[in-house]
């Protein structure tokens, strides 16, 4: 175990613990409301609370901006992140790896499922054009890519994936209000189990509020959040196929993989 590395929030000096907080209380602006904000922050465990601004956001709502200090300390050294074993492959390299190690095209299907129509994210991963200068999967000669678009029912996506004997299914979920993305994702996994692809195909979940942990919890093989590049996904899928083929150790961690 490494040495401890205790850190606190940094305002303008090391370890001063300065934070900025803002919130609304459902009370009219008044001196009493400011007192309430002060008390609220104290109950949050903050010290040297300065209720900087108290604004009449509406008749019965006051918006507060607070600067305060927090005694919270964390040990940075104790935060666990998996060690990178394999360096991410570039475009040419990855295609070559598929050609040589798998010997057939890797087949992926993707869609924005349920009632979600936010295709920009899944398009960024799948379409030729790609994202932030990184080519999309359609561009990879050794990938066979199907982008089913938006509002695709989960059952249909899975059915099509079976038809195509896909290696991976990519599900995008952007609307998250009241956790509708979780509900929909759960439904997807149930359906995947029903249709017998769970554990057989690589199931990926992506979207701005998706992270790897959440995806694993929901029953996917991985989750990809904001800023994901197509090449991250391409690498992940290839590694998964290699692992299923027994050509790579399970659980190998490579650069760019979600953590």
């Amino acid at each position: 175990m490494a040495d401890k590395q205790l850190i606190r929030a940094y305002g303008d000096r090391r370890d001063d613990g300065v934070l900025q907080v803002s919130f609304t209380l459902p009370v009219a602006l008044s001196e009493k409301a400011k007192e309430a904000a002060q008390l609220y922050c104290t109950k949050l465990g903050l010290t040297e609370v300065k209720v900087a601004a108290a604004e009449k956001a509406a008749q019965h709502y006051t918006f507060f901006v607070v600067y305060a200090k927090s005694p919270v300390v964390i040990d940075y050294a104790a935060i666990d992140t998996p060690e990178i074993v394999i360096k991410k492959r570039g475009f040419a390299e990855l295609n070559k790896e598929i050609e040589e190690e798998i010997g057939r095209k890797v087949i992926v299907l993707g869609a924005c499922t349920g009632t979600d129509t936010h295709t920009v994210g899944i398009d960024a991963i799948l379409n030729m054009k790609g994202f932030a200068g990184d080519y999309g999967l359609e561009r990879y000669p050794w990938f066979e890519t199907y982008n089913l678009g938006s509002q695709v029912p989960n059952a249909e996506l899975i059915r099509k994936a079976k038809e195509k004997s896909a290696d991976a299914i990519l599900v995008s979920q952007v609307v998250t209000q009241r956790d509708v993305h979780k509900d929909n994702s759960r439904q997807f996994i149930e359906e995947a189990k029903k249709q017998g692809v769970h554990g057989k195909m690589t199931l990926l979940l992506g979207g701005p509020r998706v992270d790897h942990k959440l995806a694993l919890e929901l029953g996917f093989d991985a989750g990809f959040g904001p800023g994901t590049k197509p090449s991250d996904v391409a690498n992940f899928v290839v590694h998964q196929v290699l692992q299923r083929l027994g050509k790579e150790a399970k659980g190998t961690h490579y650069e760019g993989e979600p953590v």
């Binding site: 604004e55 956001a57 509406a58 918006f63 979600d116 129509t117 209000q177 509020r209």
Partner: protein, 517 residues
């Protein structure tokens, strides 16, 4: 304010192209009706409520007529027929119609049929008058509580629960909002019926229902009075129930509606024919009810790149304008949509955005215009996001936008919190106050980046319009010319709801609105 960029003749040419492009579509519209148009007719006669299984009566009735293959005569005809059968109320009419074997009813005598039509027409006229009286009430309120000058600050509420929405809408009004938009639950567009009653369970928005409209407008009437300033309400008239919602909104005195001739086709994969037909009837209602429509060109550049696709916005605005004018809307009702969406990491984006907004203003001098804030390139860094919006506030004032949707600093995360709206309103008020009159202060250099870009974009818009004229709208949409989305004439949802009119098709509302009765 701005330069001219292009000649009046060039602008007139674009208008002429739009007219030619839409001609074939109007033929299509003239020849057909849809289930939702017919449901609207029934609603207008006062058919309301739901059946045992929760389906709206208008759906039960129209489905019945369609199943019987007789919808092509018009629901109004059958409504009249039911009255003739002795129906004492709209509800009674529905029951009688759904019970009767419509296919096998004996035809009416020429005289009876004429009588039926007269009666139904009279009833329609009364219903139209009632609607007009309701609209007059809105106009009176507007006179009593004058609105501040434009840009009108437009914010959304989207909790999913109409009662939470009420709180938020009132708060927003108190914080300075001029227009409240209740965002619809995701994918309501795809429902081929309108839900009933007050609703509390939407996702990313609240269902558009007549009752939700009513209670929200009631709350805003109350706020308008308290604040001494009329607060407008808007919702969505798009999707499979476009015209029904337009009617409900008109009836409940909404002030604006999101209503686009192509949005459903492109962004909801609703059938092209269905959309074109529905939009026409919905716009006729908006024209009658003095509702400002907001078109959705801004959506194009959330999928396509805003810099590359700038001309598609302009071309589409000319088309949307033509569809609207043909439906009887006035220039003052045309909240043509555009938005501040160029990637902020590029250089000179403020100049490019000014160019685009000035060009829109140049082409549509009398329209209020609806200006959308940055959304696609918003960052989760709320501080940056807030500043990014401030430049849109400036452009809105500079180009005299009528309706300005306010960007939210949390756009990249969640539907707005109460505080987000408060801060957006405060920021927009500041920039508007600070910059009011800026359009009178500066002249655009005719050889600068702003002017040259405007000319370039206009030129490409003309090319696209020429292409649409040459090959037809259907072909252009098929090639993904708008919003990078490709659709075919017979694809998409809702085509089965399109019905060719019989020669004796009867729709007294359409007749009245088209000035034929």
């Amino acid at each position: 304010m701005s330069g001219l960029f292009v000649t009046d003749e060039q602008v007139a040419h674009a208008r002429a192209l739009a007219r030619e492009i839409t001609e074939p579509i109007f033929e299509l519209i003239g020849r057909n009706t849809t289930v939702s148009v017919e449901r609207t007719v029934l609603r207008w006669f006062g058919v309301d409520g739901v059946g045992n299984l929760g389906a709206p009566l208008v759906n039960l009735m129209v489905d019945r007529l369609q199943a019987a293959g007789v919808l092509n005569r018009g629901a109004a005809f059958w409504y009249g027929r039911a009255l003739r059968m002795g129906a004492t109320s709209p509800l009674d009419a529905v029951e009688r119609l759904t019970a009767a074997p419509l296919e096998r009813l004996a035809p009416l005598s020429h005289e009876d049929e004429a009588k039926l039509r007269d009666e139904v027409r009279a009833e329609a006229r009364a219903a139209v008058d009632e609607l007009k009286a309701r609209v007059a009430k809105r106009e009176a309120l507007k006179r009593e509580f004058p609105m501040p000058p434009a840009p009108h600050k437009y914010v959304i509420v989207a909790t999913g629960n109409i009662f939470d929405d009420l709180d938020q809408a009132r708060a927003a009004a108190q914080a300075g909002a001029d227009v409240i938009a209740v965002i619809r639950s995701t994918a309501q567009s795809l429902l081929d019926y309108v839900p009933q009653g007050a609703t509390t369970e939407g996702f990313g928005g609240t269902y558009a229902t007549q009752e939700n409209f009513r209670i929200m407008r009631e709350a805003l009437d109350d706020e308008s009075e308290k604040l001494g300033r009329y607060v407008q309400l808007t919702n969505y008239s798009s999707g499979l129930c476009m015209s029904e919602i337009a009617f409900m909104a008109a009836y409940e005195r909404l002030d604006m509606l999101l209503n686009d001739a192509m949005y459903g086709i492109l962004f909801r994969d609703i059938n092209l024919r269905r959309t074109f037909i529905d939009q026409y009837f919905s716009r006729r209602i908006c024209a009658l009810a003095g509702i400002i429509i907001n078109t959705g060109e801004d959506n194009y550049i959330t999928t396509a790149d805003a810099y590359d696709a700038a001309h598609t916005v302009i071309a589409s605005q000319f088309i949307n304008e033509r569809f609207a004018l043909r439906a009887g809307l006035k220039d003052e009702q045309l909240g043509l949509g555009h938005s501040y969406e160029i990637d902020p990491h590029r250089p000179e984006t403020l100049l490019l955005e000014l160019s685009q907004a000035m060009l829109v203003r140049r082409c549509f001098p009398a329209a209020p215009l609806k200006y959308m804030p940055p959304t696609k390139h918003k960052e989760t860094d709320i501080f940056f996001s807030h500043v990014y919006d401030s430049m849109a506030h400036l452009v809105a004032m500079w180009t005299r936008q009528g309706i300005q949707l306010l960007g939210m600093m949390t756009e990249a995360m969640h539907t707005p919190l109460l505080a987000d709206r408060y801060e957006a309103l405060k920021a927009a008020s500041y920039v508007h106050r600070a910059a009011r009159g800026i359009d009178q202060e500066f002249t655009v250099k005719e050889d600068g980046l702003v002017a040259n870009r405007a000319r370039f974009v206009f030129g490409k818009a003309l090319e696209l319009l020429e292409e649409c004229r040459a090959d037809g709208m259907v072909a252009a949409i098929g090639r993904g010319r708008f919003g990078d989305v490709k659709r075919s004439e017979t694809g998409g949802k809702g085509l089965d709801g399109v019905v060719e009119k019989a020669s004796d098709y009867f729709n007294p509302f359409l007749d009245l609105m088209e000035g034929r009765a």
